[in-house]
């Protein structure tokens, strides 16, 4: 059982939710979800606070604390009960609790996707294009018929690499990668996967 711990400041910021009506509270929760997804608009915060007649600083801090709640719970993939336990720390009303849980469950997958984009990773492969040519002659040789592969590899950091390979190299590359792929179906991999779970 995994629970999120809030420090005192965050607890205070979240207690603020209690003082509000359900509608107002749910609006603030929505703002914090958008905030997490990257739609951070300080003007929006200003508008929301003036419309709801609340001190802007308190609203802002509440939004930050809620974002922390959603970030951590998505990161740890909290189950429903764990989420509710964590939220209990601020003893919310039943309605606020439900509103938070609903927002969490609805947006969890997307938040996890955003978090994994932000994680450490090497550039990944976008596409590989190939063309088979026959080299007929060059400055040093003539009247030959050598098959040559031209390859264009694009990676996710927008790099494009051109290279050539002859048939043997390409075949050995294909064989190696097939072996790599078979590894994902091997016994050893399945064992590891089971043990780590």
């Amino acid at each position: 059982m995994v629970i999120i711990y809030f420090n005192n400041e965050q607890k205070e910021d979240l207690q603020f939710l209690q003082e509000l009506s359900f509608e107002v509270g749910s609006k603030i929760v929505q703002v914090s979800i958008d905030f997490f997804k990257g739609n951070y608009n300080p003007k929006l915060l200003q508008n929301v606070s003036t419309k709801l007649n609340l001190p802007q600083l308190k609203v802002e801090r509440c939004v930050y604390a809620l974002s922390y709640l959603f970030t951590e719970s998505s990161k740890l993939s909290l189950s429903k009960s764990d989420f509710l336990e964590s939220v209990n720390a601020i003893s919310p009303t039943k309605e606020i609790e439900e509103c938070l849980l609903e927002s969490y469950q609805k947006n969890r997958e997307e938040m996890r996707r955003i978090l994994s984009e932000m994680s450490l990773k090497l550039p990944s492969i976008d596409s590989l294009q190939w063309r088979l040519d026959v080299q007929i002659s060059s400055r040093r040789t003539s009247n030959e018929a050598k098959p040559v592969y031209l390859l264009k590899l694009k990676t996710s950091d927008n790099r494009t690499v051109w290279f050539q390979a002859d048939y043997n190299e390409l075949e050995s590359m294909t064989n190696q990668l097939e072996i790599a792929l078979k590894e994902s179906k091997s016994q050893h991999y399945k064992r590891i996967k089971k043990y780590i779970k």
Partner: protein, 190 residues
């Protein structure tokens, strides 16, 4: 190295350009060759505005031609300086030009000439590694396999460049399918 008379003359025309402008002209020329600067910058430059535009055009095109021909002929810094001594150009300029040439020779060769030429890097070997991602500081319970692929490519001068990328199982499957098609294409042709 073959150069037309006009090109060779262009260097002697440099005598008509004040020395203070030489450095600016040179950095613009190399900037254009390295594709870092657009040619329009030459018109925009304040220092170069004082020079007659026909004169500037002749000198600029002469410089570009000489540098590219020198790179094509694989001249090093000293050979270029030696060659330029016979062209009646101001000695100080020859010095500046040769130094800049020496520094940027490799890079210009790579960016310009090798991509328009016909020698591509050759694939020599491939290395791969399979990892199982457990968690990161941003997200936990990832539980997915990832492949790291390392390609060794050899350039014309023998230097080896490593190309690294990652992919997940689906991408690797696509890659293997594409490669198998490529290999099959040759088998069916012969």
């Amino acid at each position: 190295m073959e150069l037309s008379k006009t090109n060779l003359n262009s260097l002697s025309l440099l005598k008509k350009i004040p020395k203070s402008v030489h450095q600016e002209l040179l950095s613009l020329v190399f900037g254009v060759l390295l594709q870092q600067v657009d040619e329009t910058e030459i018109e925009k430059s304040q220092t170069l505005k004082q020079i007659d535009s026909t004169l500037l055009k002749e000198v600029y095109s002469g410089l570009i031609t000489i540098i590219i021909q020198a790179i094509k002929a694989n001249l090093n810094e000293k050979s270029l300086a030696h060659f330029l001594k016979d062209t009646n150009s101001p000695t100080e300029f020859v010095g500046l030009l040769s130094t800049a040439y020496g520094k940027t020779f490799q890079k210009i060769r790579e960016t310009h000439l090798e991509t328009t030429g016909f020698y591509l890097k050759r694939l020599i070997s491939i290395n791969w590694r399979m990892d199982y991602i457990i968690k990161s500081n941003k997200i936990e319970q990832i539980d997915k396999p990832v492949y790291f692929i390392d390609l060794n490519l050899q350039k014309k001068d023998g230097q080896i460049e490593k190309l690294k990328f990652s992919c997940d199982t689906n991408q690797l499957q696509d890659l293997v399918t594409t490669l198998k098609d490529a290999v099959l294409a040759k088998k069916t042709q012969k």
